[in-house]
């Protein structure tokens, strides 16, 4: 079973789609590690994720820091800081 990734705002635009299913290796245990792994495998992802300070994340729809665990997660969202309603 893969890990569902969802993107929003300019992260979504730069990556070119709003969601994808990936199968990261077992040594990817945090959101930051997931971002590193995605960037290493794709120039498009590397460009979208170039400034980590501008990235925020949610694991299974809970907003978390980039050091949060993705072990056992079904859905990870990566997006810019929210700008409110």
């Amino acid at each position: 079973m893969g890990l569902e990734l969802v993107y929003f705002a300019w992260v979504r635009e730069r990556i070119g789609h709003g969601s994808e299913t990936v199968h990261p290796p077992a040594d990817v245990v945090t959101v930051a590690g997931l971002i590193d792994w995605l960037a290493a495998g794709s120039a498009v992802h590397a460009a979208a994720f170039i400034d980590r300070t501008r990235l925020r994340a949610a694991v299974d729809q809970t907003f978390v820091g980039l050091d949060a665990s993705v072990i056992g997660a079904r859905e990870v969202a990566i997006f810019p800081p929210v700008t409110g309603g």
Partner: protein, 144 residues
Amino acid sequence: MITVGAAPIDAGIECAAISATGAGGIATFVGLVRADDGVATLELEHYPGATEAALAMLAARAVERWGLIDARITHRVGVMVPGDIVVFVGTAAAHRAAALEACAFLIDRLKTDAPFWKKETRGDDASWVEPRGSDDAAAARWSH
């Protein structure tokens, strides 16, 4: 009640709905797209499911803190033009101070913490809005 969707928001219908609680005091806020700085369109993106959950949690906090009878948040997403209603917030309480304060709290928090992303177009230029310090300051006054 929490609603997030692309349908236009009718201020009259929203206001009537929260007023129907029959509480002593009803406060509402209606936020519209402004034409400031020549904005042609405003596009709001949300995180389906997570955004609704975040708004429901925010409403629940206001209900508990001010002893509200009800709180209502209706938020539009998608592409809007100046004059369109972006958000409706309504609070119902036995007394007016609770309703007014809770309404101000909800809209201040919505403007900062809520999981929405805004994109503005001006002429041929489209840009994602950056978080604003003034909104953070407005939200911070509720943290004490």
